[in-house]
Structures are given as structure tokens and as C-alpha cells.
């Protein structure tokens, strides 16, 4: 068995029977994986490797593309392994609430369209959706969204769509949201005589002075970055895939900001109980992940500036 497993680790695209010679042993591995998924995984874990060839603590390759949606004011496409998230922000104008005349508003929605996973059917909302939506508040100072005190403020609609669901959805959603906010370009607007806010374009001489010339970008108070880990026996697996999440059920999600301060820690039950030491291990892994993501961010943004 071990030799078969090792043979598989080296070969990518195991699903194609004609991709490598020995068909019978491959089928056996595949059958073993489907019939005894837990044993299949534990066998790997004891060798300190995962079926996709990763060490236990490593996250999958992450890519970031800014400005993927032309019709939005800010957008980002994030891929963590195969998990794909598309986040887009549309800015609309609202009359601020009486209690907080200098504040705008952010509305976050997380969508799981039926295209992303065989488990989602149209018309039925996905279970994870509301959990994800709650996590983004406090990232931005709502006062930055004010235009004219008491009269007009920005309402930022952030919509995150999961295009391909392969585990660690929260990490990808949070990363895409942060990236979309960092890409956000707020249009220059002015207020006309009727009290409606209009966009000031270059050829348009405009009905008044721009009210937000300096505020084209939003300042993020902090950049929260998260890492989801699976706890199974005494193993900790970072950035699980959908298959791993379905087999080993105890998840811990740690959110840290760029200066390594804890934003939130989330362990929604599960059969495995966490020791303080394993929680600390999770936090250490997240700290490492924050550095990784920061480099990816920097590379993407510097790449954008070159273009």
C-alpha cells in the first residue's frame, strides 16, 4: 500500500487512466481513497505529507488579480489552490442615518451561486454564507465614507461570489474582500442644486465643486488575514481542501492583522478539542501565512504599477 501511495504522490492528474502506465494499482488507490477516506488520510499524515504533496502546515498557492470586474469600482479575483473568489465593490450614494450623520455604510454579501459546488442547488442559500458575511465590519472607518455631513454618504456594496469551492472558503473570501478594498477607486463627485450627487468627469464642467477630491482611496484601518486549520488527533493541517474538510471536521480559523494582532478566533465545535498549545500552533501558522500573503499583495500591487 505504501508504495502505491508514494507512487501517487509524485504523479499529478491522477484521474486520467492513460496518463501513466500501471492502471490497476492506480484504480486501487482511488478505490481505497473513496472507500476509506479517513484511513487514506491518516496514512499520509503519519508520513507528514498530504495527498496533494503539501507538508501539513503549508497553504496552497495563492494568486491575486485586481480589477477583474470592469463594471465595479473595485474588484479582485483570488485563487487559493482551486478555491476561487470574486469580490466586487459598487459605490452608491445614500442619505446618512440621523444618529450618525458623518458615516457611510458597508453592506457585505457572500454568495454561493450553484455553479461553484455540486452541493449548492439554485434557490437554496448555502449554509456558510451568513457566517462569512459577518466578519468584515470594523475594517474601515465609516467616517471616511462621508461626503456631505448629514446629506450624502457612500454606501459600499461588497459582493463576494464563490466561483469554485474547494475548501477554506472564509480565507479566500476575506482575502478577496481586502484586495477589492485596496483596489477601490472612488469616483470624484459633486453635489448639484437638487441635492443629488453626480459624477464629475473630465469633459463635464460640472454643476459644482468636487466634494471628495482627496478621498479617492479608502484607508484600511487594518488588513485582516486569516488561515483555517484542521485539527485532527495531534495533527494540524493548514488551508484544507474541500475533501479534507469533509473528512476531518474540526476547523479553527484565526484572523490576524498585519501587525500580528489577533482579530478573531473561531472554532465552531467539532469532535476534536483543542489544547492551548495547538491553538498557539494555529496562531503561529497564521502568522507565517500573514507574511506570505503580504508578499503576494506587494508583488501584485507593484506589478500593477509597472503596467
Amino acid at each position: 500500500m505504501v508504495s502505491q501511495l508514494q507512487a501517487q504522490d509524485g504523479v499529478e492528474g491522477i484521474g486520467y487512466p492513460n496518463s501513466s502506465g500501471d492502471l490497476s494499482s492506480e484504480m486501487e488507490v482511488d478505490a481505497f481513497r473513496r472507500l476509506f477516506p479517513l484511513r487514506f488520510f491518516e496514512r499520509h499524515l503519519s508520513e507528514s505529507i498530504r495527498p496533494d504533496g503539501r507538508p501539513l502546515g503549508r497553504a496552497r498557492d495563492t494568486t491575486l488579480a485586481l480589477g477583474a470586474v470592469a463594471s465595479a469600482n473595485g474588484s479582485a479575483l483570488v485563487k487559493i489552490g482551486l478555491t476561487t473568489m470574486l469580490a466586487a465593490i459598487k459605490m452608491e450614494v445614500m442619505t446618512p442615518l440621523k444618529e450618525s450623520p458623518d458615516e457611510g455604510c458597508i453592506a457585505v454579501e457572500f454568495h454561493m451561486p450553484p455553479i461553484c459546488s455540486p452541493l449548492v442547488r439554485p434557490g437554496r442559500p448555502a449554509e456558510v454564507a451568513p457566517v462569512v458575511s459577518k466578519q468584515f465590519s470594523g475594517m474601515i472607518d465609516l467616517k471616511d465614507l462621508s461626503l456631505v455631513s448629514g446629506k450624502a454618504a457612500w454606501m459600499a456594496y461588497l459582493d463576494i461570489y464563490c466561483l469554485d469551492a474547494d475548501g477554506s472558503l472564509f480565507d479566500a473570501a476575506l482575502l478577496s474582500a481586502v484586495a477589492a478594498f485596496s483596489h477601490l477607486q472612488i469616483p470624484v463627485v459633486s453635489m448639484n442644486d437638487e441635492g443629488r450627487v453626480i459624477v464629475v468627469s473630465e469633459e463635464n464642467d460640472g454643476g459644482g465643486d468636487a466634494v471628495n477630491k482627496e478621498k479617492r482611496k479608502l484607508r484600511l484601518c487594518r488588513t485582516p488575514i486569516s488561515l483555517t486549520c484542521i485539527l485532527h488527533k495531534n495533527y494540524i493541517l493548514a488551508d484544507p481542501t474541500a475533501e479534507e474538510e469533509s473528512i476531518m471536521e474540526t476547523l479553527v480559523t484565526v484572523v490576524l492583522d498585519s501587525s500580528d494582532q489577533l482579530v478573531s478566533l473561531y472554532k465552531p465545535g467539532g469532535p476534536a478539542l483543542a489544547h492551548t498549545s495547538s491553538v498557539q500552533d494555529c496562531i503561529a501558522l497564521t502568522r507565517q501565512r500573514v507574511k506570505e500573503v503580504q508578499t503576494i499583495f506587494d508583488e501584485t500591487i507593484s506589478g500593477m504599477e509597472v503596467d
Partner: protein, 257 residues
């Protein structure tokens, strides 16, 4: 205005031209105008297809025609819903939805029933349903960005996704629409042209079999104009099918290696 403040305040998109109406892209008797993206009247937007856009699906495709961007995933054949009666032939289930940021005004029509049923009708004639009895194939489409001619793009993309999933079909289904604007017929209209159109004609067809699976016409058309419109669409469909086919071939040869 201030009285409206509540739990969910009403919002609006600040528009650049609130007073002045945008001049129409052409005048009524004008024959010689320029399309918003500078194309010729009978010139399609460049089409781009890629298979395997969604790994969780049995087959999927991403299509991009100018600003129109869609993803279609195919799931199955899988067990039909429990409530369904026994069926000798397979079932096809289609759903088309829009992202909230797909349209210029936020959140218009997230779930499009009309398009869903049109997609179903366009595809059912091409799929060999008898090859998967008792089961259902789900075709789900998500329009990421709407840039005009959304339904034809969804249909073409869905047929590529079906092929990617290995669902047996008689032929690829390609779809193209034309808009009637004044005296001109323009092919593959963009959103702006569609909003001014006097009429539209959409064909979905199986080019190798030279069969039309779906045809819809709106607006007033004379017979010669219908002839012209149909011919334009059919020619474009066969060209589009070639692009779709080469995308599938590329994907197949890449996975062979």
C-alpha cells in the same frame, strides 16, 4: 428626503449625466453611424472560451465576448430529485443567474427565469437525453458581467461546458443574435445597442447539422429583413462553432500530454 432614513436606506448610483440625456448612438434615417465599440455592423466581438473554469463541476466553461463574461458549470448526470417520476430519458435542468454587479444598476435580476427556460429549450434538442436515463444533468450559468447579447453567450458557453463534462450531444450549439437599429442590422449587439434596438432576432443552431434549435424574434420585421438577419446569424454561428471546437480540442490535447 431625510425622512427616508431607516434600517435600509435607499441608495442610488451617481450618474454622470443627470440633466442632459445622452445623445442616441444614431439618428432615425441615418445609415452611416459608428457602433459604440467601433466594430463593423456585421462584425462580431472577439470570442474567447476556456474549459475547466470550475474544478468542483463535472464540466465547465468560461466565455468572454467583449464585456460579457459568463461561467457555466455542468453537474451530473446525477440522481434526479426524489419527487421526480421515473423517466426513460435523462432530464436537463438549467438555471441562469446574474451577479449583483453584472448590470450597471446594482442587483437587477439575480435569478433569471426567462433565460433559464430559454437555455433549456436551446439545449434540449442537442443533448442525447436517452444516454443517461433516470438521472439529471444540471447546467448552471452565472453572468459575471453583462455587456450585451448575454443569452447567446450563455448558450454557447453552456454547450462547451456540456462537451467538457462529456455529455453526449448531436452537435455543439452555437448562438448569435442581431439587433435591428433603424435601417441597419447589427450583429452581436452590446448593451447600449440593445437598449435602443427596434427589434432583435436570436438563433441557436447546430451548425454541422444545419438545424435551428431555437429562434426568437421581437419587434417588427419584414420577410426580406428576416432572411438577412437569419443568414447573418447562421454564418456567424458556424464561425463561432469553429472557435468553440478549437477550444475543446486544445483542452483535450493539453490533457493528453
Amino acid at each position: 428626503m431625510a425622512g427616508k432614513a431607516g434600517a435600509t436606506p435607499t441608495t442610488y448610483t451617481p450618474s454622470p449625466k443627470t440633466q442632459r440625456k445622452k445623445p442616441p448612438i444614431f439618428k432615425n434615417d441615418d445609415v452611416d453611424w459608428v457602433r459604440p465599440d467601433g466594430r463593423g455592423f456585421h462584425q462580431c466581438r472577439p470570442a474567447f472560451f476556456r474549459t475547466g473554469a470550475v474544478n468542483a463541476a463535472a464540466g465547465s466553461a468560461y466565455a468572454e465576448f467583449g464585456n460579457t463574461k459568463v461561467i457555466v458549470s455542468v453537474f451530473g448526470p446525477r440522481e434526479s430529485k426524489k419527487a421526480m417520476m421515473y423517466s426513460d430519458i435523462g432530464r436537463l435542468n438549467c438555471n441562469v443567474s446574474y451577479t449583483t454587479f453584472a448590470t450597471p444598476i446594482r442587483g437587477q435580476g439575480s435569478d433569471n427565469k426567462e433565460f433559464s427556460s430559454m437555455l433549456h429549450k436551446a439545449l434540449e434538442g442537442a443533448i442525447m437525453l436517452e444516454t443517461f436515463p433516470k438521472t439529471t444533468v444540471d447546467v448552471f450559468a452565472l453572468v459575471l458581467e453583462s455587456g450585451g447579447s448575454d443569452l447567446p453567450v450563455v448558450i454557447s458557453c453552456a454547450s462547451v461546458a456540456l462537451a467538457d463534462a462529456g455529455i453526449m450531444m448531436y452537435d455543439l450549439v452555437a448562438s448569435v443574435s442581431v439587433s435591428c437599429l433603424g435601417k441597419n442590422i447589427v450583429i452581436d449587439p452590446v448593451l447600449e445597442e440593445e437598449s435602443y434596438q427596434d427589434g432583435s432576432l436570436m438563433i441557436t443552431c447546430m451548425p454541422s447539422r444545419y438545424e435551428v434549435t431555437q429562434l426568437t424574434i421581437t419587434g417588427e420585421w419584414s420577410t426580406p429583413k428576416i432572411n438577412e438577419g437569419m443568414q447573418l446569424c447562421l454564418d456567424a454561428c458556424s464561425k463561432l462553432a469553429n472557435i468553440m471546437r478549437s477550444c475543446l480540442k486544445e483542452a483535450a490535447s493539453a490533457s493528453d500530454e
